[in-house]
Amino acid sequence: MKLKLIYSFCIVLLASMAFSQDCEQIARDCSKYLEGKAGEKKFISDGQVYTAFLDREKAEFKTTLYGGSTYRIAASVGRKENYVIFTVKDSEGNVLFTNRKYKNAPYWDFEVANTIQVLLETELDTDFKVTGCAVMLIGFKQ
């Protein structure tokens, strides 16, 4: 009985360690997308890392994009660039953007004239990958 408990504990511990390390590395890789091109002003991170373990479901969250700013939304599941699909919707459900239309581009910029509340949906492109840690980052500049 004791051994079973130790075994279960080890599995949970090792799995969470592996997952954390995986996500951390992906977040580091993803943060490079916020740097932008040489000579251009870099995007400032909003200070948060959005992670979700995706299988065949979508992860979603709401955020506010302020008017007068340019935002960069970046998504990654690792070094391969085009495994994540992200979609931006407004509060009425209108699709404002999806990277699915642009070969699952790993990042996209948004020029925001007026403040807006958006819903960000993330899912894996199951043609390539069916499970994994997905990381999203949001950067901005004015």
């Binding site: 590395q25 890789d29 992670t51 479901e57 992860a59 994009l65 495994y83 004239a113 960000l120």
Partner: protein
């Protein structure tokens, strides 16, 4: 011994399998053959996003308003924050004050708030994000606002990642809440000193973020530790619900070559002066509870 071996081998195998699933992923996961099979439960069902308080400071700076040092929290108060929740809330709060001072090139204030941020992050076990090398880089770039903003925001991002990975989401939530409350306080106090339509508008735009803050604190409300703060924020929400906003969808336009989409919608916000005053008073009282 044999029993141990029986458990150890599959454990190591499972670990090896997990570790081998690195960031690259596989070209095609074999499990796709069975689309109905659920491989693992979700790690983090709810994801919350709170806009950076740095953006509030950027707006204030853009409006050419003077630097008001008197509205910021005294960096000397830092030693008085003894509970974990007070430390986390005030870490967010000082982070906002640091961003505001840095944007105005107020080096002496920036250094004071940097020191307060470092002290609180050490108490919260976040020294890795605000270590000596970070301090050195900040000191080297004190007069460069852009780099400074980048360094501080990246350090908060590292801290956020560390806390989430360590399953300390409650602390991460309080840091975000503290940062937001201070940015709201700065906005409303500046508006009292010098009424500015763009600032009033920005206060009105916080109604959605307030909902996210309440949801976030409620989700990670360990043993009811956030009950009082959540109650206060609900009171604040009562006034925010009276703000009128009208959103009109307009189709966005996309520049594929530059990977840029222009969001063309319209938004109108109307706030009654009495409501604005009530919001300012409530924010002041919430902030006072956190800083004292």
């Amino acid at each position: 011994m044999r029993k141990i071996f029986n458990y150890l081998v599959p454990t190591l195998f499972a670990f090896g399998t997990l570790m081998s699933c690195d960031g690259d992923g596989k070209e095609m996961d074999p499990d796709i053959k069975d689309p109905n099979k659920t491989l693992m439960t979700k790690f983090d069902n709810k994801v919350f996003s709170i806009p950076s308080p740095v953006q509030t400071s950027m707006l204030i700076k853009q409006l050419n308003l003077p630097f008001y040092s008197d509205i910021l929290n005294d960096a000397g108060n830092v030693s008085g924050y003894s509970t974990k929740s007070a430390q986390a809330l005030n870490l967010g709060l000082y982070g906002t004050d640091l961003g505001y001072s840095a944007l105005y090139n107020e080096s002496s204030y920036s250094l004071k708030y940097l020191s307060a941020v470092q002290k609180l992050s050490k108490k919260l076990g976040l020294s890795g994000a605000f270590d000596k090398s970070f301090m050195k880089r900040v000191e080297d770039h004190l007069s460069n606002q852009d780099t400074l903003m980048m360094l501080v925001s990246d350090a908060f991002m590292q801290g956020d990642m560390f806390l989430k990975n360590a399953n300390r989401k409650s602390d991460a939530a309080l840091i975000l809440a503290g940062g937001w409350i201070e940015s709201m306080y700065i906005l409303s106090e500046i508006n009292i000193k010098k009424a500015t339509p763009r600032i009033v508008e920005r206060i009105g735009e916080q109604q959605w973020t307030l909902v996210s803050i309440i949801d976030l604190l409620s989700e990670y409300n360990t043993k009811g530790a956030n009950d009082e703060l959540i109650g206060d924020l609900h009171d604040l929400q009562f006034y925010f619900d009276k703000i009128e906003s009208k959103y009109t969808y307009v189709e966005p336009t996309t520049d594929v070559e530059n990977k840029t989409t222009m969001l063309n919608h319209k938004l109108e916000i109307k706030i009654d002066t009495d409501i604005l005053n009530q919001i300012s008073m409530k924010i002041r009282s919430i902030r006072e509870k956190i800083t004292n």
